[in-house]
């Protein structure tokens, strides 16, 4: 359940931003989670509520923006869509795929007051 650590990372960033950007309460958090990031959105929601409790983001809403998996296929020489790390290229069947998108987990935006 590394989603717990990830939520603690989110809270660290929020607390630091609250000081530099001057806000006292967070109402909504937007996270961008890639399909290949190894993060289970439902586990993330569960941990988010638990970790934010008692903080400046207590009760905040969590919006998860899903980002699709994208890989560079060496034989095809172009980007292709993948949904798993073990997917083959949908065009040529090769495993020579370099993940170029969908492994990110980022805080995008906050609604604060």
């Amino acid at each position: 359940m590394h989603e717990m650590s990830l939520c603690e990372g989110v809270l660290h960033i929020i607390e630091r931003e609250a000081q530099t950007q001057g806000f006292g309460r967070v109402k909504t958090v937007w996270l961008e989670i890639g399909a290949l990031a190894g993060v289970e959105p439902e586990a993330m929601r569960f941990c988010f509520d638990a970790v934010m409790r008692g903080s400046l983001a207590d009760g905040a809403g969590l919006e998860i923006i899903a980002a699709p998996g994208v890989a560079w296929c060496l034989p095809c020489g172009k980007n292709v869509a993948v949904s798993q790390l073990y997917d083959v290229c949908p065009n040529c069947g090769s495993h020579q795929l370099q993940i170029v998108g969908g492994d990110q987990m980022r805080i995008k935006e906050l609604e604060v007051e």
Binding site: S5, G9, H12, I13, Y86, I99, M105, R106, K108, E113
Partner: protein, 282 residues
Amino acid sequence: MCGVCGCGEGLNHSHEHEHDPQHGHAHEHRHAHAHSHSQHHHHHEHALGPEHAHAPGLTPARMVQIEQDILSANNRYADDNRRYFGERGMLALNLVSSPGSGKTMLLTETILRLKDELNIAVIEGDQQTARDADRIRATGVPAVQINTGKGCHLDAHRVGHALESLNLPEKSLLFIENVGNLVCPSAFDLGEAHKVVILSVTEGEDKPIKYPDMFHAADLMILNKTDLLPYLDFDVEQCIRYAKQVNPKIRVLQLSAKTGEGMDNWLKWLRAELDLQGIGYA
């Protein structure tokens, strides 16, 4: 946040080489070059609708763009660790596996074969107990135990603290034995040169595609307990095909830490990788 030294939120910690009593906030410097505020901290207020109208006594809601990787704090500590290893020509390996793969026996057998030739140390990550660290210390090399409690992986911050207490000589070989877990440790960079995933033949050949993140993150897979193959329906070739499906660049070594079969290739790999760390890259 930090369970090791109580250093606040984990973001105001700096490693020993950065401590400077003249500067109360050594981390300010690190933040300054880790990400520029002008680049990442856009701060704009959206046009406020009627529900957000600024009324006396009420704070208006506003949007703040952050655009930061959730693992950014861990990754900064990992960079510190990587610099530490680089400056000392050390080889640090992050050993990952499910519980019971034979990681600790592989380590003790490796240490017994190399300890007269190389400086070796171990950082042991476990949720509870110091059983594994005790087994390592019995071989005569230093081991630091990190109990993660309910945590399912080691993070770069705690590894940095363990490095301070080990204070290793240059060109050491450092094994970081992660918590037995094929999922969570894959996401956390510790500053290591390689993740080495250990899979035992009793676990089934489909582990690489059941837990692809870990096999994708590792550079070397060790297939352990090969002495048991005659008693099992484990398809070695299929297992290697699955691993390469997830990570075409992964290298595979087959061995039995118990009988010693195949250990020589692993020792050769370790010596070669340690040599590579000592080249002195720019």
